[in-house]
């Protein structure tokens, strides 16, 4: 046996299991699991615990599959951007065709299994979500328009709606409001990131708003979306999934979020560069807490309901 051709570099086809798992974007998957679970538990109809567990698992697998398809298509962009250069495909650990095969296979698997485990309405929504993220956002919008984040944000907003559909078999005002909450939250969240990661997007040729319209316009857009988000988030508290806990959390968070957006809007580039984008970074951190705590509050309301405490 010759050992001349062997080397210690990662070879396509010789990836470890962890490399394939990384293709599914585990961090994004954790957000999908959390929001889908909240949607499912906040619904007025109960689901058998095992069916609920399997449904959330299949939603997560579907979300992961769309992540693999995104990595397959965006391998050229990921290679250029510092933030994504270590992903499995640009780092040479996984072959692009493998990523495509995994993405397609897991997409079909997740949709069919969700249909069989829960219902076909939820499965249809999952299929549409995968299509929207992989095709509409990744292949079409991302490289074409600075509004990529706005419209593409819909893909990340579907999981609570799918969770709700698992329980109820349909769509309602509450599930649409949960969708809208994530949908309207996405632009300020990503634009804040783009403000302090501008060089990355520029080098990759991704038409982020910061690149095409400049930072001043981006700052204004963050403020406008945050203003639009506030009544929507607080209004959700008046529906059947809201209650005093949610309302308190939402009012406080929206006040803080608005304050942060105003600070970002009032700053100029010199001030931002002087303190290394501290305000933008703290707004980005707050945005993560904003979403987590809003959905956490919806979950708390659902958990308190059996004791006569949740809701209005």
């Amino acid at each position: 046996m010759s050992d001349a051709s062997l080397n210690t570099q990662a070879q396509p086809g010789e990836a470890g299991f962890g490399d394939y798992f990384a293709l599914l974007k585990p961090r994004v998957m954790s957000l999908v699991v959390f929001t889908a679970l909240v949607g499912l538990l906040a619904a007025p109809i109960g689901v058998h615990p095992f069916i609920a567990f399997c449904s959330v698992l299949f939603i997560a697998v579907g979300g992961g599959a769309s992540g693999a398809l995104n990595m397959w298509w965006d391998a050229d962009i990921d290679e250029v951007m510092k933030r994504t250069a270590s992903r499995p495909i640009p780092s040479g650990k996984v072959d692009p065709q493998e990523a495509l095969a995994i993405g397609v296979t897991l997409s079909v698997f997740a949709v069919v299994m969700l249909g069989l485990a829960a219902n076909w309405m939820a499965a249809g929504l999952l299929a549409f979500t995968i299509f929207f993220y992989a095709v509409v956002y990744t292949m079409w919008l991302k490289r074409w328009t600075p509004q990529n984040i706005v419209i593409g944000g819909a893909a990340g907003a579907f999981p609570p709606m799918i969770g709700w559909a698992v329980a109820t078999g349909g769509v309602s005002v509450e599930s649409v409001l949960m969708f809208m909450l994530i949908f309207m939250w996405t632009p300020p969240h990503f634009w804040a990131l783009a403000l302090f990661m501008k060089a990355d997007y520029e080098e990759a040729g991704v038409p982020m708003l910061t690149v095409t319209h400049g930072r001043k316009v981006t700052r204004r857009h963050i403020l406008v979306y945050t203003i639009l988000l506030a009544p929507l988030a607080i209004g959700t508290g008046l529906t059947s999934i809201g209650g005093p806990v949610y309302m308190t959390v939402s009012v406080v968070l929206n006040a803080l979020f608005l304050l942060g957006a105003v600070k970002i809007w009032r700053r100029d580039e010199d001030a931002a560069q002087a303190d290394k984008y501290r305000t933008e970074k703290s707004f980005f951190g707050l945005s993560l807490m904003y979403l987590f705590l809003h959905f956490g509050a919806i979950l708390a309301e659902a958990a308190l309901k059996p004791y006569g405490l949740g809701g209005w």
């Binding site: 050992d3 062997l6 080397n7 210690t8 010789e14 990836a15 470890g16 299991f17 962890g18 394939y20 798992f21 109809i45 109960g46 689901v47 058998h48 615990p49 095992f50 069916i51 399997c54 698992l57 069989l116 485990a117 059996p306």
Partner: protein, 58 residues
């Protein structure tokens, strides 16, 4: 020595992949089995009965 290390690294990756795929398949079988049991035991129940049992379980 170098050869042994290289071979070991490749085998480690392969074995992690094989083990991972094996575990995924085992979990999949368990899930299909569990879903079958849940679905079969609920045959004949009306949605109201299912809901009642669900609430009782909670």
């Amino acid at each position: 020595m170098g050869f042994e290390n290289v071979e070991h690294e490749l085998h480690k990756r392969r074995s992690s992949r094989n083990l991972g795929v094996g575990l995924v398949l085992a979990v999949f079988i368990a899930i299909v089995f569990g879903l079958t049991v849940v679905k079969v035991t609920r045959i004949g129940e009306t949605p109201a009965q299912q809901q009642q049992q669900q609430q009782g379980g909670n």
